[in-house]
Assembly symmetry: C5
Homo-oligomer: 89 residues x 5
């Protein structure tokens, strides 16, 4: 999984019917020290995350779909947790 | 998913039979500010997107095939929405 | 999918039995303007492509195997079309 | 699989129910000579690895879920072994 | 698939039970001209490859597991052939 920061959301009126009612969030991967890297991407949320939250994102489609209880939803990632703390040793 | 801009299409007469009648679009990944990054790639559309549209692309094969209602079509991505607005906070 | 140019082929006498009789092609990803990028890779062909052809390659294993009608063949990509023209707008 | 070093762990109170009781470890990919490369990521452990261990990580969701005996857990990687020695010739 | 050179192997006493008796090889991706690129990774072998061999590696978990005849083994790649010759035109 990747640690990401939720930085926005996407509005799409014309979309695959299964996305209806699902919030599409923009997330930015960040390192354990908070430093952003790579490009932002769009994902779906199952833990009520919002803008500003540091989240854990599973980045594989078949895994992501299982999390939503819908094997047929065409997604490739999903937010699976809101991070409270990162403990480094 | 990735935000991409539709920038063209591909014509292929000789192709896997399941691609018959399906438009193959060329898309370029862009950041939330519209800046292109990485390389363009080819994808299939289920929401009637056209050249110039800013779209949301799911980039995983098993997810993409589900969206087309055809588990056997050999694709690795699919356009799942046309983006109206990206809201950043 | 990726646009690639077929640039060679690989000979392997000792191989997984399911590869017997299948041609293993070397392909180089290229951008829409023909410029090569990234590293070449090896793939299987279902549309009779040959060296010099510009092809469309699906780069996901489960999708690729479906194209060959063999869910058990251990491949991770497949050539699904020979490109006649790339139309940019 | 990738050789990684376990460098920390993540605390997430609000998470997908199937993550309850599972330790989420932070791992850093390293080369065979111990040199780190790329970005760290988060994973799940099935071999009782701890911080400081050099581990072998399978980085694919469907494979990872099988290792946990749970096809429905939304993960994209898993620690499958603790490395004793890397033998180079 | 990727062309790789086998450069070593990994010893792990504590590991997922299904890895017992399986040799874990270290492979380095190389270009068609033999030039190494990217990072080395670890994989499983089904064609009796050894250190120094130039091999063909399938880099997708579900494909790799099929090659081993075990849908439940948590691997993400597999060596599927030993390369005799790369023919470039």
């Amino acid at each position: 999984m990747l640690i990401c920061k939720v930085i926005g959301n996407v509005v799409a009126t014309k979309k695959e019917p299964k996305f209806k009612g699902k919030k599409i969030l923009v997330v930015q991967p960040i390192e354990v020290d908070g430093e952003p890297y790579g490009n932002s991407f769009e994902t779906i949320d199952i833990v009520q995350a919002g803008v500003g939250d540091i989240v854990l994102v599973t980045v594989q489609g078949s895994s992501a779909r299982d999390a939503l209880g819908d094997m047929k939803m065409p997604i490739d990632s999903v937010i699976v947790g809101i991070i409270d703390e990162i403990q480094m040793d």
